[in-house]
């Protein structure tokens, strides 16, 4: 059969529809197994397509035979392809981790897996679609699944977190919808390539209004300060793997949308400074608030917000190397923060309270998990020889090329704060005294497998970054090279096969 980007969307939707029936009539386990198969399939798609675009360039797939700009089309460029593959891989690892996840009892696990699959699907759709309204729809799919996953546990304060998320999230949807509307009145098209082509026709005051609406709308999804009030609660209350999914998948989609709007739809240079300052403020506020947290997952949440600020800032620097660095940061943040959330949720699960102080001495009882957490902590603060160092180096040297000394200083000062609170956790893990009366639930095999896979990736990329860099290079060129995007979307008339 023909491999095409559509399968990313179509297969999971079909599966999501079939799973309840299958699990009802054939076997209950199917509800948990099928999503894994779907993720495997999408990984397979990603590999094949990445190999294809190696020689064919950008793949633009048209849905239902309507040519762009009339029909909806999916664009698989090196940039979006990279993100899509990353998302599907992370999605698969999260599924593996939560296959027999500790607290999910049977009939709930069905919902859990369907929702998680749909969330990943929505994120992939955001990344792949070439139609602005379609992007909005996918974003809503992601958002709604995310709301319900945030409030998945009844005994936690999930409902509260979920409601806050929903409140802010619906503001995002309203603003984006408004922006799309104004855009449509001006240009009469929804195809992103065509918008990019014609965006100079819009009167500037309206243009800036549209940009502001988009920035605020997507900024909410991208956890930009002060739009990120929902984020810490959502991260800390959702199930552990879902926290990983937020960090690795959902936020990435938001950042993608933001970047796509700024870089491709309208390239207005003021927006770069906006990204730099917004990112910087986000980073500072988030990291400094993380310093005093006593709850592990909440601390991780703040740190992840800070990382996203770092990513935005890196995009804002705008040079090619900076964008490579930003993508590298996104990659690192996806794998490292997923590892941290996965191992961290086991640690908190085995401690009586979720407090950091309650983790003391778990290093002896859960040695492997603790070592993985330590690797993640060392990597996220950017200590060599772990992967976090290289992305930091890329971004910093890109900033140095532009002689932004103050920016570099600030970033590093903030990283010192980061070091403080991560090392506090690590030293508590290994050198605190342990309380004997807690009994340990060993993590399940498949959870260990997925965590170890992430840890090995971190080490390998850290020791030998070349395994990833050329991918990133292509992605960065694909992002900045606007003309090729437009031309390859608008002037192809047959679906690749």
């Amino acid at each position: 059969m023909v491999i095409s980007p559509v399968h990313y969307i179509a297969v999971p939707l079909l599966a999501a529809f079939l799973i309840p029936l299958l699990s009802k009539f054939i076997h209950k386990e199917l509800a948990r197994i099928v999503p894994g198969i779907v993720f495997l399939y999408s990984i397979f798609i990603s590999i094949t397509l990445m190999l294809q675009i190696g020689d064919k360039g950008i793949i633009s797939e048209v849905i239902a035979g309507w040519q762009a700009p009339w029909g909806i089309n999916l664009v698989f460029s090196p940039f979006s392809g990279f993100l899509a593959s990353l998302m599907s891989i992370i999605g698969f690892l999260i599924w593996l981790y939560s296959y027999n996840f500790k607290k999910i009892d049977k009939e709930q696990s069905q919902k859990y897996h369907i929702l998680q699959m749909m969330m990943v699907t929505g994120a992939i759709g955001i990344v792949l679609t070439g139609d602005i309204f379609n992007l909005f729809v996918f974003m809503e799919i992601t958002a709604i699944t995310a709301y319900s996953l945030t409030s998945f546990y009844r005994e936690r304060d999930g409902a509260e977190a979920g409601f806050k998320y929903l409140l802010i999230g619906s503001f995002a949807s309203v603003l984006i919808l408004l922006a799309i509307m104004i855009l449509y009145t001006q240009l009469g098209t929804l195809n992103m390539a065509e918008i990019a082509q014609k965006s100079h026709l819009i009167p500037t005051s309206l243009k800036t209004t549209i940009i502001v609406l988009f920035l605020v709308g997507f900024g909410i999804e991208a956890e930009m300060f002060p739009l990120n009030g929902w984020a810490p609660d959502a991260y800390s209350q959702s199930p552990g793997p879902i926290g990983a999914a937020f960090a690795g998948i959902v936020v990435k989609a938001g950042v993608y949308a933001l970047v796509r709007v700024i870089f491709t739809l309208f390239d207005i240079h003021g927006a770069y400074d906006f990204l730099i300052y917004g990112g910087l403020i986000t980073m500072i506020i988030a990291e400094t608030s993380a310093l005093a947290q006593t709850n592990l997952k909440r601390m991780l949440a703040y740190s992840s917000i800070g990382q996203m600020g770092f990513v935005l800032m890196a995009f804002g620097i705008g040079t090619h190397q900076a964008i490579v660095g930003a993508l590298f940061l996104m990659f690192n943040h996806a794998i490292i923060k997923s590892l941290l959330f996965m191992s961290g949720s086991y640690l908190t699960y085995n401690s009586l309270t979720k407090q950091i102080s309650a983790l003391s001495g778990l290093g002896k009882k859960l040695p492997l998990v603790s070592i993985l957490f330590g690797i993640g902590a060392f990597a996220i603060v950017g200590l060599p020889p772990f992967s976090g160092f290289w992305s930091k180096l890329y971004v910093l040297s890109a900033a140095a090329d532009k002689n932004m000394l103050l920016l570099i200083m600030t970033i590093l000062a903030v990283s010192i704060v980061e070091i403080i609170y991560y090392f506090r956790v690590v030293s508590t893990l290994y050198y605190g005294k342990q309380n004997p009366e807690i009994e340990i639930q060993k993590p399940s095999i498949n959870a260990m497998v997925s965590m170890i896979a992430l840890g090995i990736t971190i080490l390998v990329v850290g020791v030998y970054p070349d395994v990833i860099t050329n991918l990133l290079e292509n992605a960065a060129t694909a992002l900045t090279d606007k003309a090729t995007y437009i031309q390859s979307v608008l002037t192809q008339n047959l679906p690749i096969n």
């Binding site: 809503e140 709604i144 409030s151 509260e160 977190a161 409140l167 309203v174 919808l177 509307m181």
Partner: protein, 126 residues
């Protein structure tokens, strides 16, 4: 002729005005009211305003609905723009789903905190 023009303007302005008014009312409800239910209602009012605005943009005076029925093939250039309506349909569905999730969350919150005032549900902060 003249009052047709006037009528035209009247319709459009009233439609736009009511849309804006809806949005502002919803915003007021969301930002000021403390009751969760009222906040959810405010959200859906905002949605309604947006949808109305969108449809109003697509509407052109005197044109017919974009349906190709036998005998109306020649009206192709006398039809209103179909795209906004399609989009609005989608948006309505999405809004519906969001409202459903929101209400279920409200029920859970009420059971959990047995209050529906948003400023008393602050167990997660800082």
């Amino acid at each position: 002729m003249y009052n047709l023009e006037l009528q035209n303007n009247l319709i459009t302005t009233s439609v736009y005005g009511s849309a804006i008014a809806l949005i502002l009312i919803g915003l007021y409800a969301v930002l000021v009211k403390k009751n969760l239910i009222k906040i959810v209602i405010g959200l859906s009012i905002i949605d309604a305003g947006i949808h109305l605005l969108f449809v109003a943009i697509g509407y052109i005076k005197g044109f017919t609905a974009p349906i190709f029925s036998p005998g109306s093939e020649n009206l192709a250039n006398k039809m209103v723009d179909p795209v906004p309506q399609a989009l609005v349909l989608t948006a309505i569905v999405i809004g519906f789903a969001t409202t459903a999730v929101a209400l279920s969350l409200v029920i859970r919150l009420y059971k959990h905190h047995n209050t529906a005032r948003i400023d008393q549900i602050k167990s997660l902060k800082w």
